[in-house]
Symmetry: C2
Subunit: 274 residues, 2 copies
DNA sequence: ACTGGTTAGTGTATGTTATATACTTACCGG
DNA sequence: CCGGTAAGTATATAACATACACTAACCAGT
């Protein structure tokens, strides 16, 4: 960018950044993407991926851009966690960070490293290293949000490809809750909800009994704060697999269409008496 | 402040503001405080109170400061709703607003008008005027948050003075949910929770049967994101009544003390099986 | 082709929570 | 002392959550 020109304001302005807690499932464990910082401050420490918001860029768009830069995935689920703005959270200057969490399906894994990242890798949330800035707090809140939402929304589906087995879905829940669930009760609960459809196809190739493949019905796919699935994010080669997933999701996405926003949050809740 | 000096940055920085949805209960209705804008943009329109975050000021502190400037109330419940940053949300320059909602007890009402507000008044949320900027969206999200939390936390208590009747508490719930509740079921639910204590005293002076006064036990008072209750906010005269409330709350606040944060959110939720 | 190992898949009984519903008590004012 | 109004109280039913154990299907190795 410009080298010499300064942008001047009558009052001091903080910098505004986005930071992302990008979650996925690997080895049946909840994992989060961290980058190793190549520069000071916190050189050598692991941190959440993120970057500054451009001056005419929406916050959601900045988060989506960072997500794609880091993982090659466009159109993943994104949700804002909140703004973090302790005065000394960044020693360089005042930085307000708007934190997001993202979910990418378990086998859509494409890490690019570059820019300010020396390395990037997935960390199981149960074995996190010491992280830079206030990222521990951001992670804490993001995980909290995830735990809170998993029973009351269909967010778990975002960890899986368009077709999945019920055991896989159960593993998502277990990984997020950090707790084993009873198979029969879990399935009874699932089937009491109007969000899954058996495809009739089977996942074969394991060494055991084949499992039936399921698919979410359209309206079940909770929308994130980010750009709508299918929006065009000048996708790079690396995101082709991600796009395949999206096509799958979109494909599934033509049955209900309706007032999903309200339904989502009342998923497991009765309305109170009149 | 400085008149001539400009603050320069290598890259353009947005301004960062806080906006507050300040709720209270009046006439058994949920009300929100709006100010009439004295200046452009949106001169003459009603808007949420708010202001810019100072360069070394925490976001929570900025929200608490604006709340006190506007209402004279210090130590009220404050919770961040999120960051709103659409590029054109403010026509003057890029402004990222971090929205909060606040709850002040129903009879702690002290409006100051000054600064950029021509007038300030409470509006029932069911009769809101057209508001400036993206404040309709902020209000929407704040109310959503409130509805979502009321059953799962003790946030309703924040609308009431330290001693209250069960009917008053029920009215808080009804106002927030926009729905009448059954008295017997509501009371059964309340008494199944370990958060209220009858004082033995009565609210007399009505023309009807006296109602027993209740009090929240200490740990039941959910903490906001803002400064802890009792923190010293160089309180003005106008906040003396507010302080009386706080003393009451603090007084009640010495019984449990424990791991309330987790308890709060599991208030009405069982843990899943092992 | 049979066996052992492993995952998929299924039902029932019990406890807990939510909902629906009506009458009595206490105070005030006239 | 009567009418009006808010406070206060219990029971029966429906919905949901939890606890719990066996059979079916596949693969690999003999």
């Amino acid at each position: 960018m410009t080298d010499k020109k300064l942008f001047g304001y009558k009052y001091p302005h903080p910098a505004v950044a986005v930071d992302l807690a990008i979650f996925t499932l690997q080895e049946s464990r909840l994992q989060v993407l961290l980058i190793e910082r190549a520069r000071d401050p916190f050189k050598g420490r692991w941190a959440l991926p993120g970057g500054f918001v451009r001056i005419h860029e929406d916050l959601d768009a900045a988060a989506a851009r960072e997500l794609e830069e880091e993982t090659g995935v466009a159109g993943a689920y994104l949700e804002q966690v909140g703004a973090f703005g302790a005065p000394q959270r960044d020693p360089r200057e005042r930085v307000i960070s708007v934190a997001f969490f993202a979910i990418i399906p378990s086998d859509t894994i494409h890490l690019k490293s570059g820019g300010d990242a020396a390395a990037a890798r997935w960390w199981p949330v149960s074995e996190l290293p010491k992280v830079a800035f206030d990222h521990a707090e951001i992670l804490e809140q993001a995980r909290h949000r995830l735990r809170d939402k998993i029973r009351r929304s269909t967010i778990a589906l975002r960890f899986l490809p368009p077709e999945f087995t019920l055991t896989e879905l159960q593993q998502v829940h277990e990984a997020i809750l950090g707790q084993e669930l009873d198979k029969r009760n879990f399935r009874k609960w699932l089937t009491s909800l109007p969000y899954l459809r058996a495809t009739g196809r089977m996942r074969r190739g394991g060494q055991h009994r084949p499992a039936e493949l399921y698919r979410a019905i359209a309206a079940a796919l909770i929308k994130g704060t980010g750009p709508t699935i299918g929006d065009d994010y000048s996708s790079t080669d690396e995101s082709s697999i991600a796009q395949a997933y999206q096509r799958g999701y979109q494909d599934a996405a033509r049955e209900f269409a309706a007032a999903m926003d309200s339904t989502q949050r009342d998923l497991m809740r009765r309305v109170r008496p009149a």
